[in-house]
Symmetry: C2
Subunit: 343 residues, 2 copies
């Protein structure tokens, strides 16, 4: 197995990537390929105390930055002999020299590069970005969290199929519960998109539990939750912002007097639980589902631990033959829809 790690992705790159690569290589020698400017990476690996001979490096002289967007990004992403670390890394997966690609870089850049170079799985109209949300009882896979601001019901059905396969293969859930994010649990509630999607999910053979709201989502009642990329992105970012508002206000208040400081010290184990509940590093990034290859996109703020976590998830996805399973499931869904009984 070979996992390609974009060395030039995270906000503080390439340090977290290099540390993660050294650690991953220690666990599974020969598994990691770092892509980025070779000379720089070798120098930094040495500086970090790593073995430059152990970690495989594939040279990529350019990077896609946060400034790359719109047409400029599309052209960079499509370019035949592109030297960006994302393009070089994704091409390694495409050519079969590697099994998965991980980057903590520009999300739009990674999605666009993957989309143009890998194409989509037959039967998929739009790739969807899947993130794991913390809940009362383990994570919930939510998609789309930002690839497609405007979606059609068919896209959400495809997201549900892909999310279910992931929950089954990678997370080991036998009949993943699929919820449809809505403004009301009752059937018939929702916007036009939700009202159009619910019947498709009901007829899909998936374990559709109906419309869900925040309460059910964060209460852990669904293993997979589908929504359009606009709502999913707003949901993701506001959840993070609410969590930050609470934890930072609490921290501030706890530091405001000697009494509360002592209290905070004693109560520390409780705060650690909250921290790990909310820590994106525990999860390790989003998965771009629907493109013809395994592409993981980590948070720009990812540290080495988050990268190691992403590598672990990617390894699991490769081992469980996630991509092949998704292809089969989508094909089955298409066949079911085209069969005369359903028509």
């Amino acid at each position: 197995m070979k996992i390609v790690l974009d060395a030039m992705g995270s906000d503080t790159c390439p340090e977290p990537e290099i540390l993660a690569a050294i650690e991953a290589d220690r666990q599974n020698p020969g598994e990691i390929i770092l892509v980025g400017p070779e000379a720089l990476l070798k120098e930094r690996i040495k500086a970090a105390g790593g073995d430059t001979a152990a970690v495989q490096i594939v040279d990529a002289s350019e990077t896609i930055t946060m400034e790359d967007k719109g047409l400029k990004l599309a052209l960079k992403a499509k370019k035949k002999n592109s030297h960006t670390s994302m393009a070089v890394g994704i091409d390694l997966v495409l050519s079969g020299q590697a099994d998965a690609f991980i980057t903590a870089g520009n999300t739009g850049g990674a999605m666009t590069t993957a989309f143009f170079r890998m194409g989509v799985i037959p039967g998929i109209e739009r790739p969807g970005l899947m993130g794991l949300f913390p809940t009362r009882s383990g994570p919930c896979s939510v998609l789309d969290i930002g690839a497609n601001p405007d979606c059609k019901p068919e896209h959400l059905l495809q997201f549900a199929v892909m999310g279910s396969v992931y929950a089954n293969r990678v997370r080991g859930i036998s009949r993943p519960r699929v919820g449809l994010i809505s403004n009301g649990e009752e059937a018939g509630k929702g916007n036009e998109l939700v009202r159009g999607t619910a019947p498709l999910l009901k007829a899909s053979g998936l374990n559709f539990i109906g419309n869900i709201e925040g309460k059910e989502l964060f209460g852990g009642e669904a293993d997979v939750a589908v929504t359009d990329g606009f709502t999913g992105n707003v949901l993701l970012k506001s959840s993070e912002a609410v969590a930050r508002l609470i934890t930072e206000t609490l921290r501030q208040e706890l530091m405001s007097s000697t009494r509360t400081k002592i209290g905070a010290l004693l109560a520390k184990p409780a705060f650690s639980t909250i921290k790990s509940l909310l820590d994106p590093g525990e999860v390790g990034g989003a998965l771009l589902m629907g493109v013809n290859g395994l592409v993981f996109i980590g948070h720009g703020r990812s540290d080495a631990r988050a990268m190691v976590s992403a590598i672990r998830t990617a390894r699991k996805a490769v081992q469980s033959e996630l991509l092949a399973a998704i292809k089969t499931a989508i094909q089955e869904q298409l066949n079911a829809v085209q069969s005369p009984e359903v028509k």
Copy 2:
């Protein structure tokens, strides 16, 4: 000034309503009108130690319950001589016998009853539900939080005008900052609705600060945030759910050992700040904006304190002549759009 309070709204009605009415009447004698079954209310007022002669009661023998929805609700809401507490209360405002109506009952029921009986302000196509979200620096008015799952750009512009007037009149903010909730701050980001709304807001003369994400919303960078009723509702409910997940997990963890219990006891003042930051009772309900009258809709879980808070907000809205100010602002917006310079 007369404020009508639906005595049969909250989950534990009429107790919180009665306690709030007694308290409000103590502060401003003769201000409150309770609507509901007269005999029952008198009995309960007496039981609560209140003066049955002091609090004015208008009899309403029926109630709209959580079971009322769809066509059944619409018919109940429209019915000419309706005896539901919502219809009776709203009719008092409509006939000029009262200045504002407050209910903690079925949100859909209140919106439908108000819409059918009061109609909309000239120039408004859709009423919007406005809620106050806690942020790092005071509340932000968000609308629509659930009246219209599918919106057009014009609706969001109208929400922005109404939200700005509220922030100005009731909250005393001179040039309220208006944000457009989106999946990315950059201009050009967003779904179809956001991309269509941004130019309207830019041309509106409002203090439009651009697209905002969760970070800006909960960071307190906007006084008013507009979105469609689907996204707003998902945002509201997931924010509440995230806050509950964090606070309940924290409570559980704090109670898990003697050490953390002592810590929690010492740190109590800090937790109280968080509690009041997140407590909907501090805010006191949502405002249905765009109907031809002042209608406040509280949370079903409202207690007496939340009701008193809603009464205080309603009082402020009446005193500041909110409704007339909204009518003027909408008219000005319409005139500006119809003027040849803008065309």
